[in-house]
């Protein structure tokens, strides 16, 4: 195990930002810290990096007790949401910073910087200033800078949070490929469940300062430990008292589905290749169904159509928990 966080509690005044958090993050994996805004993800990441200190609990990094080590001695690479570039230095100088501090020989630094800039596809920008780069390029530079010192772990706090959707998507795929190449233990924070599900080996769901669940993306998606995790990883709708994902609902215009609930379509919304249908059942439930456009066309669905809905056999529904 590469990073061991044990019983960490962090308070800001009266406010408890992390409450008795215990996680172990395995060596060489790409782990996502996922959770809603204000849940404590950044706080946990900063405590691992030594940029904040825990009030209680311990941190081990690669078998070294790091709880009281200052950030500069932890050998942890950190990438910030807003890039944190050294504005007055060229791209190459930014990347070389950690190596220069370690007083490595000049030609070794030059060689390594070159190699890293190639890795992040910035070799032609070596002599530019960060202000002459796009956001995505800046973040790649920040990543190269963090990797330069060969950190034991790489920590990224919403690294793509400030970028637009398309660049985000590109960079997250690129990060996955980079990780497969470099294999450094990586933890990245995100509040985007799609991002977490897509690139990580393991996901830690954090909410209100507590760990809700730890597991592989499939695990979490298929077997959420509680309603919060289920709701956070994707949309949820209720059919016949069972919680399922909208794409796990079968819909038909004839009552052939066993145990299906009868209802009327109140709204049809097309989103790209998908169609979202709202069905008001006779039992008073508002069921959301997602299906492909061609399927919806084949069924001839429209507002006011009478339909029958039921959870798809084989999907794993959760019973609605009784209040209290």
């Amino acid at each position: 195990m590469s990073i061991e966080v044990r019983n960490v509690t962090k308070r800001f005044g009266d406010f408890v930002a992390l409450e008795d958090v215990t996680v172990s993050l395995p060596t060489g994996q790409l782990t996502a810290l996922l959770g809603p805004s204000g849940g404590g993800k950044s706080t946990l990441l900063r405590i691992i990096a030594g940029l904040d200190t825990a009030d209680e609990g311990t941190i081990d990094i690669e078998g070294t007790e790091a709880t009281n080590l200052p950030a500069r001695k932890r050998n942890v690479g950190f990438v910030f949401q807003h890039y944190a570039v050294f504005k007055h230095m060229t791209v190459a100088k930014n990347v070389a910073f950690g190596l220069e501090i370690r007083k490595r020989p000049k030609d070794e630094i030059e060689h390594r910087v070159d190699e890293l800039l190639r890795l992040v596809h910035l070799q032609q920008f070596a002599h530019r200033l960060p202000s002459q780069l796009s956001g995505g390029q800046r973040q790649r530079m920040a990543l190269a800078r963090a990797l330069a010192v060969e950190p034991k772990v790489l920590l990224l706090d919403e690294p793509f949070g400030a970028l637009d959707a398309k660049v985000r998507r590109e960079l997250r795929e690129w990060l996955r490929r980079l990780h497969d190449e470099v294999h450094v233990t990586t933890v990245f924070v995100t509040h985007d469940q799609e991002e977490a599900l897509e690139v990580s080996d393991e996901i830690v769901v954090i909410n209100e300062g507590r760990v809700e669940q730890i597991g592989s993306p499939d695990d979490l998606y298929d077997h959420p430990a509680n309603d919060f995790v289920m709701g956070f990883l994707g949309e949820v709708t209720t059919v016949n008292g069972q919680k399922v994902r909208p794409h796990d609902v079968d819909i038909s215009t004839t009552p052939i589905l066993a145990g299906a609930a009868q209802g009327t379509i109140s709204r049809v919304l097309r989103v790209g290749f998908q169609v979202r249908v709202n069905v008001l059942t006779d039992g008073g439930e508002d069921v959301t169904v997602e299906l492909t456009k061609s399927h919806a066309n084949a069924l001839g669905l429209g507002e006011g159509t009478t339909v029958w809905v039921t959870p798809t056999p084989g999907s794993i529904p959760r019973m609605v928990e009784k209040a209290g």
């Binding site: 990096a49 030594g50 940029l51 200052p70 950030a71 500069r72 001695k73 932890r74 050998n75 942890v76 690479g77 950190f78 910030f80 807003h82 944190a84 570039v85 050294f86 504005k87 007055h88 230095m89 100088k93 910073f97 950690g98 501090i101 370690r102 920040a142 800078r145 963090a146 330069a148 010192v149």
Partner: protein
Amino acid sequence: MLWFSLLVLIPLAAVVVKSAEGGWGTFADAVTNRQTFAALRLTVLTSVGVTALNMVMGTIIAWVLVRDRFPGKAILDLVIDIPFALPTIVAGLVLLALYGPTSPIGVHAANTRLAVFLAIAFVTLPFIVRTVQPVLEEMERDVEEAAASLGASRFTTFRRIILPTLAPAIFAGAALSFARGISEYGSLVLLSGNLPYRTEVTSVRMLTYLEGGDTASAAAVATILLVVALLAIVTLDVIQRRVARRG
């Protein structure tokens, strides 16, 4: 640009023309006059010294004001501007009361070169504090954190990250501070005693020329001050670029 010309360039040109009117002879006479030369030397050297001190102290005060939390901080923040806001002659009276013959703190600086130094230091203090402060406030903390996580000590972070970022502000403040220093009159005229060859500064010397009806010599001295100020600004700018690039 037109506004700039009207406001700055025309009066400057007028001074230079005036000094040229007297012919090269008057100019040379004024400059080689031993008393004038002593006044110029005292003014320039003291201003250089004060500016150097301000660059260090001003940066430290700005740092404390932005980064530290302590009771009375808001008051200190206000007090910084007082030397700047006071009419200079009032500043002179304050300094006389503080460092004069009846000094309550036992520092008797009246009629000494220390008086010139203190007066100039007093009125120029706010410049660097006020130019550095906003830059420090805008500086993102995560940049320092990034340096720390890359292995930099507090000192290395200061030298290689913070200082180059602050350099333009420090040097801009220094240019203002120096320019104000060489032209200072009101605040030091009371305390310094204006002793020829000892504590007489350039502006006092110029006034003497003017009172004697020798406008041409006064303008000549003014032109020299102008050149000194321009040289200082250029020098500071060159050093600033070096520091900012060194990083």
